[in-house]
Structure formats: structure tokens, C-alpha cells
Symmetry: C2
Subunit: 187 residues, 2 copies
């Protein structure tokens, strides 16, 4: 929940870089406190992340190369919103592209801000149930080497043990768990 009673005033914006996904600038803002400061601001179109839950009570995790992490991370399927794309449509698309699955049910779990100190990226979280196989088709610059079905109890152990360390994945799974949606799998 974002309280918008208090807002900064953007006095100016100096564009720094506009790439395929990120639009980076330095914004001169007057904070609600009256202080004026320069903030590095990364404008991002937003994303969707999906917890795919099998009928057998397993979560599908993808093993993805992340250059920023200098190695492979286990994550839930996720991706950036295409221009004009709704988060729900993005969730269905990314689930199919990355995990090779279609979902009968896609339950909204609400948004998160992964890094509100410097980016407006908002990731919309979903739980996917009623999975049926489809064709995985990765972007050319994506490296996903494995999709693994991991029992819910083992995933929760990995979260406690800091073995699952991708923030969006942990938040999505914990939110689904807190809502009682992971108990006993789903058909």
C-alpha cells in the first residue's frame, strides 16, 4: 500500500540512458521535507512473476543465468511487461515462455517494489494453478537451463536457509503461503 498524501515535486529531469527496458535519468526533486536533491531514477515498465503450483503440491522453479549475480539463480518464472500489456496477460505469456506451461487459474497476489530506492519497477505477483504443458520458447538472450518441480515444503526450507535468494520469488511464494494457497497443492 502506497500512501500518496505526501509527494515530491520533480523540478527537472536529465536523461542519462534509454535502453530496451530501462529509462535512466537524474531527477532534481523537492522532497516533501522541502529539501532539494538529485535522485538517480530508473524508470521501468513493470513486470509479472508467477508461482506455478502443480496438482502434486510442487512449485516450478527455473534455473536462470543472471549476469548481475555472476551466476545461475533459481527463480519463479517472470518477465517484463510488453508495451500496453496487462500484468495478467504478461503472467500467462511468461509462464508459457519460461516454464512451458499454461494455467487454468491465475490468482493475483498483489504488487511489490523490488528496489524503491532507485527504480519505480513494480512486479505483479501471481499464483498459477491447473497447469498443462505447452512449448517453452525463450528469448535469444535468456539462459534457462532447467525447469524443476520442487515440493512446497522443500521450497519453504530453501527460503528459510537463504538458498532461494531472488527477492520476487521469495515474496511471491511467502505471500501465497500466507494466504493458505500452497497447502496440499491444487488441481
Amino acid at each position: 500500500m502506497v500512501c500518496r498524501m505526501v509527494r515530491a515535486v520533480v523540478l527537472s529531469r536529465r536523461p542519462v540512458h534509454k535502453g530496451r527496458v530501462l529509462d535512466i535519468g537524474v531527477e532534481r526533486v523537492r522532497l516533501p521535507s522541502g529539501v532539494e536533491t538529485d535522485l538517480e531514477m530508473i524508470r521501468h515498465p513493470g513486470a509479472a512473476a508467477i508461482v506455478p503450483l502443480t496438482a502434486g503440491g510442487e512449485i516450478l522453479l527455473v534455473h536462470q543465468y543472471r549476469h548481475a549475480a555472476d551466476g545461475m539463480l533459481w527463480e519463479v518464472p517472470a518477465g517484463t511487461l510488453s508495451p500496453g500489456e496487462e500484468p495478467l496477460a504478461c503472467a500467462h505469456r511468461e509462464l508459457e515462455e519460461e516454464a512451458g506451461m499454461r494455467a487454468a487459474d491465475m490468482i493475483e497476489l498483489g504488487p511489490i517494489f523490488p528496489a524503491p530506492g532507485y527504480t519505480n519497477e513494480r512486479i505483479h505477483l501471481f499464483l498459477a494453478r491447473g497447469l498443462t504443458p505447452a512449448a517453452q520458447h525463450l528469448d535469444t538472450d535468456e539462459v534457462i537451463t532447467e525447469v524443476r518441480a520442487v515440493p512446497v515444503a522443500e521450497v519453504l526450507r530453501q527460503i528459510a536457509a537463504a538458498e532461494l535468494i531472488d527477492a520476487k520469488s521469495v515474496v511471491a511464494i511467502c505471500r501465497a503461503q500466507a494466504r493458505g494457497l500452497l497447502a496440499g497443492g491444487a488441481g
Copy 2:
């Protein structure tokens, strides 16, 4: 856990912007798949985030203005590592600066990657116990309007309801909960 068996090769790096915290560049990399691509990469010094748990079983949350979120967010205390600073020292410093508390115990909860698609930022998570009041002293460009002690059960409800939407805060609290560290508070 990051598997480093597979790595990309950085062929070149074009600096785009170097600010107070972020060092932004476009890196030409050869992915483990052999594909060459340009990646926008935000190099970040790392951060620490702290779940402050009172003896009465409450978590201290700060109400912070976030320009990127265009409003106020409830978060656990957190901040960027200073040059050469260890995560543990940063955790003690930020707990005092943002929440006005010192901690007798600071328990490591492991790292997270908030946004491994485009930044190498790694946030080191901690649980703080044995709290005693100290002087809050904010940076001039920080806007924290309130520090509130919220019962653990209410915080977990806020996580389930997507009212607490700052990723690092949710991960830190869920990891502490999964380890049984939030039950019944702590002295």
C-alpha cells in the same frame, strides 16, 4: 545460493552514469549460451536491511518517502553499505540512524538479490534483538515520518494482504519467521 559453474564473459563496458550510489553501464557480454548481447548493468555497493524485534513481539517499521514509488512505503530499516563497510556494521548503523535503536543481538538472515535482471545489488538481511533506544539521525535527503511498533501477527497479515509491498522487508520478515525467530518476541 548462486551457482557459478556457468559465467558470462564481459567483452566491453561503456560507462553511462556514475552517481553517489549507482554506477551504470552497458556491458557487451557473451552469455554462457554463446549469444552476445548488450546488458544495462547497474553496479551497486550492496546494502543491509534489519528486522527490529522488540521484547514485546513487535516489529519496528519506518514510514519512508520513496520518490520511485511516488509516495510513502512502510519498510524495515535499511541502507547502502558505505565504502569498505561490512554488512553487520551497516546494519547496526542503519538501525540507529533510521529507527533510533541499538541492538544487543544482530542475527544474520543471509542475502537477497532485489533485481538480478539489471543490478548486482545484494541486500544482507538481519534480525535485531535486545533493542535499546538511541538517537535517530536521518540523512538530509531521507524522509522518515514515523517509526511504528507493529505486532508480528499484524505484520504477517499485512504481508498476506499485500499491504507491505517493499520486497526486502517482506523477504527479511518471512525468512525470520520461517526460522522460528519471530515467535513470542525476544528479550
